[in-house]
């Protein structure tokens, strides 16, 4: 693998692997971030939920206290209404006697110790009380000490425009410059025992219930928002104004009975809850306000973030390693591909180089053949001329003439071979162009057959011929003739004594088909495939050729736009078939 990798393009593979690893890291980072986000949201939700529950619990104790107080006060007022002196004071126009008459009845209201929540309702420890007259105005007490002192401004907040027929809960500012606090007041109507009409109301003021004592370490602060002002005793002025501003904004935008929000006080996150304390009351709406510092929750969140972050980092590390291996593994096929393509490229380059060198060699050999043929031609011509001169002398013995005649014949053969080689080299070099003129094949065949019979060593063969008259082919007569000569000479050369030669020529589908068959020993089956190769003579053992004739003939036939093939060679019969393009005689060129 590593050896192969070295062969492949290492930079490309590394790049791919790095990209794969980066993508995987990206996915894992995304998942970690998502996990972090979800965990954070979960923690925040949990915090909100837990604090809201806390808030609920405090509110429910507040509700419970109020319920007990209201029940006790209602009972007290029912009892009061039954008192003849109260009646007398109210009905007999003796309001000045109302407070003295009620003093004894309500004495315990103003006395006693402040008790914890569980017992507070029973004792009804009030800070003050006031009676309202029949039209809802506050009856001034003769002695404020007995009924709890109250500033005039605070007292004015107790009045109604009309006496309420139901208990009303409200929160009023004491408007005391020394310590401005909020008091919880409950207005209880007093009904006439005779007519059932509301004749008066008792308004009792309490110190407001201050929750949060159960859980002081949490740093929770509670207060009351009423008449656009916030009473938050345990808080600094700055924090108070921040909470007040937030509340003002929240309550101005929407008249909400309850809600929660978050705000930052001196940079620390806080959770703010508020709930309408006196829905439907004739007193101004008042809200119980809780402010929780989220510091502990923030710390927890921070810790959790660290944990998740650490886990994420570990995960990233693991993922890095894993993705490294995974990338390596996943990129293996790609590397393989890379290697193979590299291999293929090398092969191709080699093949191209080989082709180029082969072409060069071929050109070189063709050039060499041409050069060699030219170089050979001159000495042969000189040789032949010399021999002919010697033949012309008459002073030699007859045996010498015979010898000279043989030598002269050999020089003729040598010239033929050189001509063939020259032609071949021209063809190999691609220099040979054959014209496309009409050549009368029938006539050409007849001429060659005449020549064949006229040869001195004419064989003892029977020649059959069936040649359509005036068959014209497209080609150049010199080369067409060469093909025919080649085939006919072969048919004669490889024939057996007493054999025959058959020549058929006909037109077929715009082609001229010439088949020349001869008797004689057939070509070995193994040799048949190679007979058109250069320098392979048919070699039937009896006659030898120089091995370029058939090669030359086929190449020429192909240059004519036709072909040459061996049709059959078995059972004392060998037949070749040459095809040419048919051309009407008289037309100059076939396209």
């Amino acid at each position: 693998m590593t050896a192969k990798k070295a062969k492949a393009n290492p930079r490309a593979v590394k790049g791919f692997r790095a990209k794969l690893a980066a993508a995987m890291m990206l996915v894992i980072s995304g998942i970690t971030a998502l996990g972090l986000y979800l965990a954070q949201r979960n923690v925040t939700n949990n915090a909100n939920h837990a604090l809201e529950q806390d808030f609920q619990a405090e509110l429910s104790s507040l509700d419970r206290l109020q319920e007990l107080r209201h029940a006790a006060l209602a009972e007290r007022c029912r009892a009061l209404a039954l008192k003849p002196r109260i009646h007398a004071a109210l009905e007999d126009n003796a309001l000045d006697l109302l407070y003295p008459s009620a003093k004894d009845e309500l004495r315990d209201l103003m006395e006693g110790q402040e008790r914890p929540l569980e017992q507070a309702a029973g004792t009804l420890h009030a800070k003050f009380y006031r009676f309202l007259d029949g039209v809802g105005a506050v009856l001034a007490p003769p002695n404020a000490k007995d009924v709890g002192s109250l500033s005039a401004a605070a007292e004015a907040q107790l009045a109604f425009k009309k006496l309420p027929d139901k208990q009303q809960v409200g929160y009023i500012w004491s408007n005391d410059p020394a310590s401005d606090t909020v008091n919880e007041v409950t207005a209880v109507p007093i009904f006439s025992t005779e007519t059932g009409e509301v004749i008066s109301a008792l308004v009792v003021g309490f110190k407001p219930f201050e929750p949060g004592s159960k859980n002081p370490s949490a740093g929770m602060q509670s207060g009351i928002w009423v008449s656009g002002r916030l009473h938050l005793p345990a808080s600094s002025d700055g924090a108070k104004s921040m909470v007040a501003g937030k509340l003002m904004k929240l309550l101005t935008n929407a008249d909400r009975a309850r809600d929660s929000s978050t705000l930052r006080i001196n940079g620390a996150p806080h959770l703010l809850f508020f709930k309408l304390l006196n829905p439907g009351s004739l007193f101004p709406p008042a809200y119980e306000v809780f402010v929780y510092p989220l510091a502990t929750w923030a710390a927890q969140l921070h810790r959790l973030r660290l944990q998740i972050g650490g886990a994420g980092a570990l995960l990233l590390l693991g993922a890095f390693v894993a993705s490294h291996f995974a990338a390596a593994r996943l990129s293996r096929p790609v590397e393989q591909l890379e290697i193979e393509s590299e291999h293929d490229r090398a092969e191709r380059q080699r093949a191209e180089a080989a082709l180029a060198s082969t072409t060069d060699e071929l050109e070189r050999s063709a050039r060499y053949s041409a050069d060699a043929s030219h170089q050979l031609k001159s000495p042969v011509t000189v040789l032949r001329a010399g021999l002919e001169t010697l033949m012309g002398r008459e002073d030699f013995a007859p045996e010498v003439y015979e010898e000279l005649s043989g030598l002269l014949h050999q020089t003729h053969r040598l010239t033929g071979v050189i001509d063939d080689l020259l032609l071949l080299s021209r063809m190999d070099a691609g220099h040979l162009r054959i014209a496309s003129d009409p050549v009368n094949l029938s006539q050409l065949l007849e001429e060659w057959l005449d020549d064949l019979e006229a040869l001195p060593d004419a064989p003892d063969v029977n020649i059959e011929k069936k040649i359509a008259t005036d068959l014209s082919v497209a080609g150049e007569k010199q080369y067409t003739s060469l093909i025919i000569q080649n085939l006919l000479e072969n048919a004669r050369k490889y024939n057996r004594p007493g054999g025959r030669i058959r020549i058929l020529a006909r037109e077929e589908n715009k082609q001229v088909v010439l088949s020349i068959g001869n008797t004689g020993r057939p070509i070995d089956r193994a040799e048949q495939r190679h007979i058109f190769e250069r320098f392979r003579s048919i070699g039937n053992g009896l006659v030898s050729g120089h091995g370029i004739g058939l090669n030359l003939a086929r190449d020429l036939a192909r240059l004519h736009g036709g072909d040459l093939r061996l049709v059959v060679s078995e059972n004392d019969w060998t037949e070749f078939e040459a095809r040419f393009r048919f051309m009407e005689s008289g037309t100059n060129r076939a396209t």
Binding site: L82, P84, R85, H87, D92, A94
Partner: protein, 212 residues
């Protein structure tokens, strides 16, 4: 004793009745009774809104004017019997001492916050002696209450005049022994309603006045 005195008075005054006094009589139109015809002859004080009246309705007809107070304070009684004031409505002349005898077997604690007379007798038993009493020296309506029995209610109408009478349940009244002269005759119907009519009284004559 009392009967004998009345007898002698009658004998002495018998020859001059027509000359010595004027008489006013008539009918006061009383509000509709809520409880139908009275059978048990029990009256009670009710307050409706802030209005006190007797139930069934009764009216007090009196001759308004300034008259000399009697030399010795007249004495009247408002008893508590069966957890009720008896009579429930008592008109008196200014300066009258009213005793409040307890005829029940329980404590009573009679008081009044009325501007005309504020008093508080405190808790007392039936055999409390002397009988708790108060002098009513300012005119006006006084509401009597019992601090123990919150339903108990009584009215004392303190008047400047000695000439007053409670109408019969049908509203009829007859006021005798009136001085001659130009006066205003008033009919108190409830704590908020007092009707009045001018009258010319002449000795020996009977004036008929109706309060519609």
């Amino acid at each position: 004793m009392r009967l004998r005195r009345l007898f002698w008075c009658g004998v002495i005054l018998a020859p001059f009745p027509a000359f010595a006094e004027a008489i006013a009589e008539g009918v006061v139109q009383l509000p509709e009774s809520r409880s139908g015809p009275v059978i048990a002859k029990r009256y009670e004080i009710v307050s409706k809104g802030e209005t006190l009246s007797t139930q069934p309705p009764l009216a007090v007809v009196y001759l308004d004017g300034s008259f000399t107070k009697p030399a010795s304070a007249p004495k009247r009684q408002v008893a508590q019997k069966d957890l009720e004031f008896l009579p429930p409505l008592l008109p008196v002349q200014v300066g009258t001492r009213v005793e409040f005898p307890n005829l029940d077997d329980t404590y009573h604690s009679i008081f009044s916050y009325s501007p005309a007379k504020r008093f508080d007798l405190g808790r007392y038993r039936p055999e409390e002696r002397p009988i708790p009493s108060e002098v009513f020296d300012a005119p006006g309506l006084v509401t009597l209450r019992c601090d123990i029995h919150e339903h108990m209610r009584g009215l004392i109408l303190v008047l400047n005049t000695p000439h007053f009478v409670i109408t019969a349940p049908d509203g009829r009244f007859r006021l005798r022994g009136l001085p001659s002269g130009h006066y205003t005759l008033k009919a108190w119907i409830d704590s908020r309603t007092t009707r009045e009519k001018p009258v010319d009284l002449k000795s020996g004559q009977t004036v008929h006045v109706d309060f519609p």
